[in-house]
Amino acid sequence: MSSEEVPAGAPHDAPRHAGGPIAIVAGHGEFARGVISAVQHITGYGARLLPLIIHGLGPADIEDALLRLVDESGARVIFTDLPAGSCTIAAGRVARARPDVLVVTGVSLPALLYFVMHEGAAPADAARQAIDRARTALRVVGGATRGD
């Protein structure tokens, strides 16, 4: 299993509904708001993502908040920042309670950009493609030492 994915135990190949939020972004600090602001700035599609800020929330509160967002918005993908994070643990529990929910961890701006630009695709396909995009976006530029 890839470290970026949590299996939810159900297929995720249904096309997504157009118009509303299509995913939730949950992370530490202001990560979610910050990365969604960047998505909005670049694509204008920031509204396709819902942020979850977890300041001061205990594990049960995070899980409740995620479950509420999932149920109210219809979003079926949860992006989290760290595999070792309380958001990921809570999201894993939500995916267990709602087997059509998919969790993607270690999310980055390139992944989200790809995802929001492919609104009509099936969530699992879009998520996998987004992960591939994010991987190829990781590059080292420069850094040559003397003598190289």
């Binding site: 001061g56 594990p59 990921t88």
Partner: protein
Amino acid sequence: MGIELFRIDDRLIHGQVVVGWGRPLNVGFIALVDDEVADSDWEQELYRMGVPPEIEVYFATVQAAAGALERWRADPRPGIVLTGDVDTMRRLIDAALGIAAVNLGGVHHRADRVQRLRYVYLSSEEERTLRALAARGIRITAQDVPAARPVPLEDVLVMRGES
């Protein structure tokens, strides 16, 4: 080396533990002491998922942890022992000898709790338990991450969430 930190954190294994403390302490193992998690393969898989392969994770009930404590202390690798609440740490201390210091790393909002620090909310029962542990000579400080200032229990208990 052995156990570097006994920590109460209701988020259990998460970023602050694995990265925030794990990296500077060069942690080789994390012992998660929780009766429910110790009884659930699914929960254990969830917590293991976020831990890099170089860190070993043990899941133990309070009783099993008390029995394993000497082995963990003798481990050449630095380790962290985690409980999810004050009472579980109290039960571990009652069941095992030699726990000299406890880190309050994260006890979050609940209806019966009062906010003391940004990351510490305590019920009156939890406050009584912590005071009793301190009276037994156990040093209790609140500190979410290594870079933060440790706050002694007596200061925590007079705060109202201002820091």
